[in-house]
Amino acid sequence: MFDEDESLWLKIKSGDRESLEMLYRKLFGMLYRYGTKFTSSKLVKDAIHDMFLDIWNYREKLQPTTSVRYYLFTTLKRRIVLNNQNHRRFSTFNYKSDWISVAADSSHEEIIIESECDDARTRKLRKYMQDLPPRQYEALLMKFYNKLSYREIADKLDVNEQSARNLVQRGLELLRKYSQITLLGLILLCRTIDKVW
């Protein structure tokens, strides 16, 4: 699965911009989640932007690497630190220092395992979420992701508060029904991985 990263990397080196976008789109989520462990969303986005811009601008100097992800994670971390230090000053650091190989970072393994286990566990249920009627889907997101009150959900969906409650309730029931049909296998798998308490 990681092989693909490395072949994209080589294509970028030879000047293929589509590969740059593919690599970017493939890894943005992971990089973003990793970066926001250290700093604010805005700074992470700036760092990711700068990092990919440099990859492209200095593509001829890219070294072949056995793990593109590993490179990108560590580079991003350095860049966040650098951007923090060079805050409000013109950046004068030597871009090359970014590409010096660094000693293995144990947390890197964890990140990859963590995010992939997470993906496996939620992908199915999430897919079912997308099958919900649109208003139930929205109501569930507003309630549990955006943390809106029923009053606010009612406002946004232009219904009364009771209807907002009903949308959430029905959304949950339907989602549960979907999940019960096919999740049995996954439940057993996750039980062994998931630390419930």
Partner: protein, 354 residues
């Protein structure tokens, strides 16, 4: 007491204490304890607990992935722009900075024009020297009165008031939502007429929300005391003694149009009481003290922490558009600290910074 014997996964998901615990395991020791004890007491509910956790996880995951996709597109658009406009120059950083600067200036110019046109609303003057302010814009609009009071008028809201208040009373009429900050004048009470209800105050700050298309009218108090009654009662002269509801800070009254009743309650969430006053919550190299103070002020909570240990901590965070607990979570993640909520206090413990 809830009947936990019949609790299903869905009941658990809808139980705020459960959801909070499932979302932030380990962050609230009292919840850890509670749910650990709970699952021991109801061992046959284990499957429901697992299912509830999965449901919460999936919904949150979906929300997160939507958000991620948004961020991904945003950064890609920016990157695409940088890639297209920036030649492989010898001075990449300078030109990049200049590019960013000029884009920023242009954006600000365009935005301010938009804001200027959208915000300017309409102000008209009646023959009786009544002034009407209508906020048709998308951002709140502040109206100042001659007595020093002010109101932050939310979008789609309007306000009517006399140019000069009378000797005995200051009276305004509101449609929609406003955040009032009233100058103290014990001899001249301030009245807000909001459709079916009227709020009477001496000097205080509070929110009135009365949109015609909403079933309820809401008055929430931040500071001071506000008395609220229905317009009908007020005009009837022989008002029922219980017809007036007196609110103190963090209390609210809801008027139900359907039932024509006023009911008093506590403000559920420590909502951003003066959310009307748009705060950016953007901190650059800000000492922790400053960040906490601004949260304390905005939410009316007390944040307890060791100033000595944290005196070197600075934060670079943008905390806009998220609830208080989300803000605390993000700050604590950055500081490698933990927070607990005890009554109206938030206790932050952490290792401090070098």
């Amino acid at each position: 007491m809830k009947d936990y014997n019949t609790y299903t996964a869905i009941d658990l998901v809808l139980d705020e204490r459960f959801e909070k615990w499932a979302r932030h395991p380990g962050m609230y020791p009292e919840l850890d304890q509670f749910w650990r004890a709970w699952t021991m007491q109801y061992p046959d509910k284990l499957e429901e607990v697992m299912e509830a956790k999965r449901l919460i996880g999936a919904i949150h995951g979906e929300g997160e992935s939507l958000q991620l996709r948004k961020e991904e597109d945003e950064v890609w658009n920016r990157l695409d722009h940088s890639l297209n406009t920036k030649p492989k120059a010898k001075l990449p950083f300078v030109s990049k900075k200049w590019m960013a600067a000029s884009v920023a200036v242009l954006t600000i110019a365009v935005l301010s024009l938009v804001v200027f046109f959208r915000e300017s609303g309409q102000t008209t003057q009646d023959d009786q020297d009544l002034i009407s302010v209508i906020n048709n814009g998308v951002t709140p609009k502040t109206v100042m009165f001659l007595d020093g009071s002010s109101v932050v008028l939310q979008p789609n809201s309007s306000l009517q008031y006399p140019r000069v208040f009378s000797e005995s009373a200051r009276e305004v009429t509101l449609n929609g939502e406003g955040f009032f900050e009233i100058a103290k004048e014990p001899t001249r009470p301030f009245y807000v007429y909001a459709d079916k209800v009227v709020a009477r105050v001496l000097g205080t700050s509070f929110i009135v929300r009365a949109f015609k298309n909403e079933p309820d009218i809401l008055v929430q108090v931040k500071t001071g005391k506000v008395s609220v009654q229905t317009v009908k009662e007020m005009k009837s002269k022989k008002a029922h003694p219980n017809s007036t509801v007196v609110l103190i800070p963090n209390q609210q009254v809801i008027y139900s149009r359907e039932e024509s009743t006023l009911s008093k309650s506590l403000i559920e969430n420590p909502a951003l009481i003066n959310s009307a006053v748009k705060r950016k919550f953007l901190f650059e190299d800000a000492p922790v003290k400053e960040v906490f103070e601004s949260l304390e002020e905005a939410y009316g909570v007390t944040i307890v922490y060791d100033e000595e240990i944290m005196k070197n901590c600075v934060l670079n965070v943008s905390l806009a558009d998220m609830p208080l607990y989300e803000k605390m979570r993000l700050i604590c993640k950055t500081l490698e600290a933990k927070y607990e909520i005890m009554d109206s206090q938030i206790v932050v413990t952490g290792p401090g910074c070098e």
